[in-house]
Symmetry: C2
Subunit: 418 residues, 2 copies
């Protein structure tokens, strides 16, 4: 077994001027981790010849696998391919299967193919071409001084397809990575430092080949226990023993003992009991619905949402009485109770969630400041409401509201299995 | 004027195992750019002593400003502060104003304060403390060999607050950055390489201090023209001249000549004409509503959405006839026409958008494959429908549907100012 380190180099000015958030690197890191490869560094550089060259030099000193994304587009600011050709001492040649593939794509799209497109079929003759079924820029694999370099396009779905179909399947042939395994659990309602107090002594007894990480996000904390080694069987058993103890320690705050997001923990609860859900969203503006439906299979339990952003919609579709809106306000326990009750009837579901709040930066008052949120969850067993006071920016207030509303439903279901 | 380069170092195992997407770096890069500082590299390393030390050494050779985020949490895997203390040759001392601040936070939250929390007030005596009003970990500024190092917490809203209130205001005192300005426009309906053909000769005539970048995303391409120099007045005029020419070249595909997202271009159109919008979403599951409401001020034009994920909701709330669903299907022109017409009446708006499609990975058929989407937009001037065939993964199919639906509304409004 060898300890295999990888570096991810991301190329593109758009990353350095902040135009684009790099979601590729984290996804790649996750996938490499599952294969037992540890990402040691992630580096982003611009479309600048010297910067890319230096990054290749430096990262290949620190890692055996260097994954490069971006810089393969058809426009003038993309210089990566020419650089790779010189770096690995080859010359550019047309790769006929890629040219055929590009020609087919343009024929299918019924679009004219221009020189720039055809040029994407040119590759250094020192590389192994990795066919890209999702786009026109192929992946390229190079070897130099026992290091492996893979260049992939930066478009996320093309990069992912190439990783899944071309790169990851090669890993076991390229490296002897040994065994890496993770166990992850999700907690809610307890801060990182208090969680640490609960498990400090356990953490201190962990053997060197086990590692615990705290991953806080959205007012929840994920704990990830990882094992590294050769003996899969004994390591798996040891990992499970420590993980069981960890679960026992945090059980009052445990959402789920798997590495899935809050909304998936909730959807599992609903699907396993054959129950359905509807939502009525004011301040989250459809974000809860989006969280639920971004995962395939949501139609098994989720019926829909009334996004009642405007008060008139709260009145006309969710029948919140005008007097309630006038005397208690749109952000009130009474309003979310009515919203939750009504959407549950309207969509004929077992459970419902309703939220109303002030997400900011404007719209707050002394009595009802920015960050004030009311949440109601309803079911045959009755209703549960809770007030929250978030202190973040608009984006995070929306996200926090959504996750805390889902957590409230989870708590309600646990106490009211209906 | 000096050319000031920055490096951003992001610390945390969670970045290298891919648990967290790094949104901090791109935001920081954007803000630094506006101040005339060019981010040269972004590097992510784990919570590993040697890795962090090496990154500090290497990046300070390449940049004059080194921004460090993360690694300041109260848990055991965070070693950054101790390392910074040794790296800059100081000793740890309690910073009383920070301790008072932390104590006040815990008192206000009515939570017990433990040792781990108090320890966050300890800082190297070689740093300038940057007060963090949003959390317990302060920012720290160090100087060494004429380089400036700033350490910030990794929690996004804390980092942002510190950047905006403590770090960016210091930049003009720390560096002589000169003038940097950008002009950005957004195009839709034309691919990157075809756009490049349209403007290639213009691009070739650009002087060295002007730079053009192509920023493709969601089937749209953003063009960013940047100027670097000292003479603000003449540079601004030159930038405008080239930008006007650029706009003229791409006018058939121009969405807006500002650096704002598609949904904001649409909301401006609506707000400026005093018109209102409602949406009826099946396959996007609330994502269009979320895109619109994630920006403050949406209530000026947006009334709400019926997320009719389930066909029963399409029938009962949006009155799509059962026969339509049976003979044409939920993903059909007839269905989205009815959804758009009905939600517009239901919410009493000037315009409406309706979408229905198959986002995958399951649910496709030979006749209606994954990626098939129908969009309808409606207004007093009638209705416009369009069929799309996306070929991405679920996430991207949802995003593409949302952006293309907004673009269709934009086109409809241009032709039907109602």
């Amino acid at each position: 077994m060898e300890k295999v380190f990888a570096s991810i180099i991301t190329i593109g000015d758009e990353l350095l001027i902040g135009q684009v958030v790099d979601t590729n690197s984290s996804w790649m890191a996750q996938e490499l981790n599952k294969m037992g490869i540890l990402v040691r560094r992630r580096v982003a550089v611009g479309d600048v010849w010297d910067e890319i060259w230096t990054a290749l030099d430096e990262e290949s000193k620190k890692a055996s696998l260097i994954l490069i994304t971006g810089g393969l587009g058809p426009t003038a600011d993309d210089i990566t391919k020419q650089l790779l050709c010189e770096y690995f001492g080859g010359k550019m040649v047309t790769h006929q299967p890629t040219l055929d593939h590009i020609t087919r794509i343009f024929r299918k799209l019924d679009r004219p193919m221009i020189d720039r497109n055809a040029k994407q079929a040119e590759v250094p003759d020192t590389c192994t071409v990795l066919k890209n079924e999702r786009g026109t820029a192929p992946g390229m694999l190079f070897r130099k001084d026992e290091k492996v370099f893979v260049s992939l396009p930066g478009v996320p779905h093309e990069m992912k397809w190439l990783m899944e179909h071309q790169v990851l399947p090669l890993i076991p042939q390229l490296f002897n990575t040994g065994f890496v395994e993770h166990r992850t659990l999700l907690t809610a309602g307890i801060g990182e430092s208090f969680l640490a107090e609960l498990i400090q002594d356990l953490e201190e007894t962990l053997p060197a080949h086990l590692k615990l990480a705290y991953l806080p996000n959205y007012g929840m904390v994920r704990l990830r226990l990882s094992a590294f080694g050769t003996d899969k069987a004994s390591l798996g058993t040891e990992l499970d023993t420590y993980f069981d103890e960890l679960k026992e320690r945090v059980k009052a705050h445990l959402v789920i003992d798997e590495d899935i997001p809050m909304e998936s923990a909730v959807s599992r609860l609903l699907i396993s009991s054959g129950k359905t859900l509807a939502t009525a969203e004011s301040c989250t503006g459809g974000y809860i619905a989006h969280l639920l439906t971004r995962h395939a299979g949501a139609s098994a339990y989720y019926k829909g949402s009334v996004v009642s952003y405007d008060n008139a919609v709260k009145q006309q579709i969710l029948h919140v009485p005008e007097t309630t809106l006038q005397t208690k306000g749109a952000v009130s326990e009474e309003t979310v109770r009515q919203m939750a009750a009504e959407v549950r009837v309207l969509m004929g579901t077992d459970y419902s969630i309703a939220v109303s709040g002030i997400m900011g930066p404007d719209g707050g008052s002394a009595e009802k400041p920015v960050g004030l949120v009311w949440v109601a969850v309803a079911g045959a067993g009755g209703m549960l409401t809770r007030q929250f006071n978030f202190r973040y920016d608009r984006t995070r207030n929306i996200e926090m509201t959504a996750y805390q509303a889902l957590n409230l439903l989870r708590i309600f279901i646990a106490g009211n299995p209906a």
